[in-house]
Structure formats: structure tokens, C-alpha cells
């Protein structure tokens, strides 16, 4: 056990504390972000084109301004960031010694191409030459940006995520360390899924990996991305950004499986832009991290564009995972369908704040969002807040959320038919996630999720816990 004081929190008398206390962030900015010294040191270790450095400096200026402001209350007030201390983390200028990090998706399927990042730096790229024969660009982001500036600059942190969107996107824009780039030219199909693995191997490393995917008109692609830590004890920080751009008539399937260890802080601003008749299928899996906050925007910018968003979250111990999702219907005839499922164990907490936003031109919109949580302990907590903001008058928008515990009658029903308590618990939790699994048309993802959830369930321990809780009740 460790105890530490917030040294800057001075003694304040009771009257002063009633509404006048200064926020911790304002008193000690080093705890919540990086200062100019860290930035200059970071730049000195970079070898990159001048225009990239200039963009970083602009972003750092915005970041400094945003750092001085409070975070938007509606998005962050339920997330306790007080224990976060940015001083414990720094970006590193190299990938260090190559470490084999076990990947959940990476070990189970063949891919058309693969890229691996370690501590913010690309350490392996495969398949890019074969893909290049079809005009597909797949590889390390910085190198691609420098080689194809004219093509890629208009997209990078311009179309989907803006550097001044919030404090974390500005932080990322100033410090991004590398990432994955996929560009699929017009009417080209990437037949096999591509795989991107982002790993953290050293204690105290701040990773700012970026993912930029552009699927040009009529093109199709699937990219499976996952994050992982080399061990359970290294503390890490990941401030990420994901940009998905789906042009007219294009189709993208993107899966992100977040599996950091429980010492990692994970913040990410993620956005997809879908143009006319484009289709985006986006699956977000949250298994790891100590604290995570994902800002996920789905911008349906073209007529008849559609997006399906799937969320699978499983938390345990004292994990806190927070999602802020927005389905933004900007044009006529757009469709969005979001389904999040969360299972919570121990003292973990999940926060989901979802919004369907419909602009005036977006008539005949069909928007749906739903978040369901299954609580496996009394100490777990889930806050689900769906919302609608509709400016058009001819739309169909529905939303809902449920939170509940495992129904003891269901367990009794199973046991009365010869199924053990362990098997019953397993079936109930698997069944709870099944509806999301059924929406994911990539077998390797479905299978991996099912196996990973089983492992994290720790069925034996879980059933014993439930049994002892029942004994206490009776």
C-alpha cells in the first residue's frame, strides 16, 4: 500500500472550501500534461520533415491553451482523473530492445499485411510490398506522410480529428510518435484483413500512436488493431488517435481491441467520417487499462452513409473505462446503429455517455443506440447516459440502456436441468455478449473475443463468489 499527499493542496478552512477551492489542474499543470521543456526535448529526438515539426508546434500551442482550461464537464465529470500524474511518463526516442508481446488477434489468423509498434516506434512491417502492387499504402505513418505528403496531408488530423478538438487530441497532435497508415485507392479491395499491433514494453513510457485509414471511393478494407503490454507491472500512458475516412461507396471494417495492462492510462480521440453510400463497421473492445477514456465520433457526412458500431467491454478489479460516443447524422438518409455491451466485475466502473445528433439536412435519418451492462458484483458501478439531439423533423431515432445483475432464477433454472453453476454463469455471460458477437462478421475476432472473455471471466472464481454471496443472502 502506498500513500502520497497532493502536496499542492493547501489547508483551506471550511468556509473557503465551500466552492472556492482551486482545481488541482490549475495548481499543478505538470500532473495533467507535458510542458514546453518536455516538448523541446521530444523534438530534439525526432528526425522528421520541417512541415511535420511546424504542425507539432502549432498543436503544442493549442495544447498549452487547452491545458489551462477545465475539461468539458459533460464528457469528463464522471471520470476521476485525480490520480493521474503525467510526470511519471515520457515519450522515448527509440523502440528499445525488441520484445515478443503476446497478441490476442495476431496469433490466430493470416493477414494480408502486418505492422507492429513498440513504445511508439514501428518495429515490423510486412506485406506492404505486395499491397503496393495494387496501389495500397500500408505502413508506418511518419514515413508514409513524408513520402506521400500531397496525398495524405489533407487527411492527417484534418478530416476526422482536429488538433484542437480537445486537450487529448491536441496533446496527441503535438507528440504523436508514429502509427499505422492504410490508404486504399479507388475501387480496390483488400482481400485479407490487415493487422496492427501496438505494444508497450517499458515502465513510464508515453505512447502517442496514431491510426489513419483512408478508403477511397468504392474501395474495401478490413483492419484489425490491438494494443498490448509486455507485462502486467509496467505503468504506461497511451494518448492515441484514430481517424477513419470512408469515401463514397467505400466500405471499411475496423476493429480495435484494447488490452493494455492494468497499470496503463489510455486516452484516445477516435473519429470516423463516412461519405455518400459509404459503410463503416467499427468494433471497439475494452478489456485492459487502469483508466481509459475514449471519445468516439461517427460522422455520417454523406447521403445514405451508414455506420454500425459494436462495443464489447469487460472490466475487473479497479478498472475504470469511460466512453463518450457521438453518432452525428449530417446528411439525408443516413443510418447508424450502436450497440455496446459491458460486463463489470469486482470494483470496476464503466461510464458510457452516448449521443445521437441529427442536423437539419439529415431528414430520413435512422439512428439507434443501446448500451447494456451486466454487473457481476455489488461494488461495480456503471453509468449509462444515452442522449438525443435532433434538429430534423422526419427521422427515426431510438435509444436505450439497461443495467442489471445476473438473474439467480436463470442460474437455478440451468442447475435444475443438470448444468453446473459454473457452466450456467459461463452461458449467461457468453449469451449476454452473443448479440454483439453476431454483428461482427470476422470469425477470428468473434472467436478471439469469446476466448478472451472466458479467460477474463475466471469462471471458477466467479462462481465461487456468487455462491458465497448467495449463502450470505440465505
Amino acid at each position: 500500500m502506498c500513500v502520497w499527499l497532493i502536496a499542492v493542496e493547501e489547508c483551506i478552512d471550511v468556509e473557503e472550501m465551500n466552492g472556492k477551492a482551486m482545481s488541482l489542474a490549475a495548481k499543478h499543470p505538470g500532473r495533467i500534461g507535458f510542458d514546453i521543456e518536455v516538448f523541446e526535448q521530444f523534438l530534439s529526438g525526432r528526425r522528421e520533415a520541417d512541415w511535420i515539426t511546424a504542425a507539432r508546434r502549432d498543436a503544442f500551442e493549442k495544447y498549452t491553451q487547452l491545458l489551462a482550461q477545465e475539461l468539458p464537464a459533460e464528457e469528463f465529470k464522471r471520470l476521476d482523473l485525480r490520480p493521474f500524474n503525467a510526470e511519471l511518463f515520457r515519450p522515448v526516442s527509440d523502440s528499445g530492445e525488441l520484445e515478443a508481446v503476446s497478441a490476442l488477434l495476431g496469433e490466430t489468423s493470416d493477414y494480408g499485411g502486418r505492422i507492429v509498434h513498440q513504445d511508439g516506434h514501428a518495429v515490423e512491417v510486412s506485406g506492404s510490398d505486395q499491397l503496393a502492387e495494387k496501389g495500397i499504402l500500408f505502413g508506418e505513418l511518419q514515413a508514409m506522410l513524408e513520402q506521400h505528403r500531397e496525398l495524405l496531408e489533407p487527411f492527417f488530423m484534418r478530416r476526422a480529428v482536429s488538433p484542437d478538438a480537445d486537450r487529448f487530441s491536441a496533446w496527441h497532435a503535438a507528440f504523436w510518435t508514429g502509427g499505422t497508415l492504410l490508404y486504399v485507392p479507388r475501387n480496390v479491395e483488400v482481400e485479407l484483413p490487415l493487422h496492427s499491433l501496438i505494444t508497450s514494453t517499458r515502465n513510464g513510457v508515453a505512447d502517442f500512436s496514431h491510426t489513419l485509414i483512408i478508403v477511397d471511393e468504392g474501395a474495401r478494407a478490413t483492419l484489425l488493431e490491438e494494443t498490448a503490454s509486455a507485462d502486467a507491472d509496467s505503468a504506461g500512458l497511451h494518448v492515441g488517435c484514430v481517424e477513419l475516412i470512408v469515401e463514397r461507396d467505400a466500405q471499411l471494417r475496423y476493429v480495435q481491441l484494447q488490452n493494455w495492462n492494468q497499470k496503463t492510462w489510455h486516452f484516445a480521440h477516435q473519429a470516423g467520417v463516412v461519405e455518400n453510400n459509404g459503410t463503416l463497421q467499427w468494433t471497439v473492445v475494452g478489456l485492459g487499462s487502469r483508466v481509459s477514456h475514449i471519445h468516439q465520433d461517427i460522422n455520417l457526412a454523406g447521403r445514405a452513409s451508414s455506420a454500425e458500431v459494436n462495443g464489447v467491454t469487460f472490466t475487473s478489479d479497479r478498472q475504470k473505462l469511460s466512453y463518450y460516443t457521438q453518432q452525428h447524422h449530417q446528411q439525408q438518409g443516413t443510418r447508424s446503429d450502436l450497440l455496446y455491451r459491458e460486463v463489470l466485475r469486482d470494483e470496476s466502473r464503466v461510464i458510457w455517455r452516448g449521443m445521437i445528433k441529427v442536423d437539419i439536412p439529415a431528414q430520413q435519418t435512422d439512428g439507434y443506440q443501446r448500451s447494456d451492462a451486466l454487473m457481476l458484483s455489488e461494488e461495480a458501478r456503471c453509468d449509462s447516459i444515452p442522449g438525443l439531439e435532433i434538429e430534423a423533423d422526419d427521422v427515426r431515432c431510438t435509444h436505450g440502456s439497461t443495467t442489471g445483475r445476473v438473474d439467480q432464477d436463470q442460474i437455478l433454472y440451468c442447475m435444475s436441468r443438470g448444468i453446473t453453476r459454473n457452466e450456467a454463469m459461463h452461458m449467461i455471460v457468453e449469451g449476454f455478449f452473443q448479440e454483439v458477437y453476431d454483428r461482427i462478421p470476422i470469425p477470428v475476432v468473434r472467436d478471439t473475443l469469446s476466448q478472451t472473455v472466458q479467460k477474463k471471466l475466471g469462471i471458477e472464481t466467479l462462481a465461487a463468489d456468487v455462491m458465497s454471496a448467495d449463502d450470505e443472502e440465505f
Partner: protein, 99 residues
């Protein structure tokens, strides 16, 4: 138990934010009594750092839920569940606490 503060660092009616085993907590002194409670309202899950102290209770600054500093028990709506209180010992001119 872990040392959280020196007894001469707070006067009666004062408080200090600390982390105990990564849990945000408030150390509060009222006369010669010391209390250490989790600094998270059980109603909305947010900090109560600036909450008013009334007698031996802490009032959440947002929705006025009130918690007993000795037991953590919720004394009024909208909170219905207790907050965690830490065991406290005063020795060697310091306050020590543990869950």
C-alpha cells in the same frame, strides 16, 4: 497502516486530499478527531473535496447528499449507499490510515 499526515498540519475544520492505495481520500480534522473517508460521492461517483462540513458529516457539493464521517453512512437522499471510511490511528504525532 500508512502515515497520511502530521497532526500539526491541519487545524480543526480543515481537510486535505490524499491518495491511499491509489484511492482518492479526504483527511478531515474536527477538534481532536481525525477522519479519513473516500472522496467519491456514492450517488454520482464524483469528488466531494469541497463539500461543506456539518457537525460530523460531509455534504456533497452537487446534490447535497450527506455522509457520516465516522461510519460513511448516507444520511440523506439522493445517496443511499455509504462511502468507504478508513481506519484511523493517531500516533507519533501523525495520522495513520488503512481500509
Amino acid at each position: 497502516m500508512e502515515r497520511v499526515i502530521g497532526t500539526d498540519e491541519l487545524q480543526s475544520g480543515e481537510r486535505r486530499s490524499v491518495f491511499i492505495d491509489e484511492i482518492p481520500a479526504l483527511v478531515i480534522r474536527i477538534e481532536d478527531q481525525w477522519f479519513v473517508v473516500e472522496d467519491v460521492c456514492s450517488h454520482d461517483g464524483q469528488p466531494m473535496t469541497d463539500g461543506e462540513l456539518i457537525d460530523c458529516s460531509l455534504v456533497c457539493p452537487r446534490h447535497s447528499a450527506r455522509f457520516d464521517l465516522k461510519t460513511g453512512k448516507a444520511l440523506c437522499m439522493p445517496a443511499t449507499e455509504a462511502i468507504r471510511v478508513f481506519k484511523v490511528e493517531v500516533r507519533d504525532n501523525a495520522v495513520w490510515a488503512a481500509l
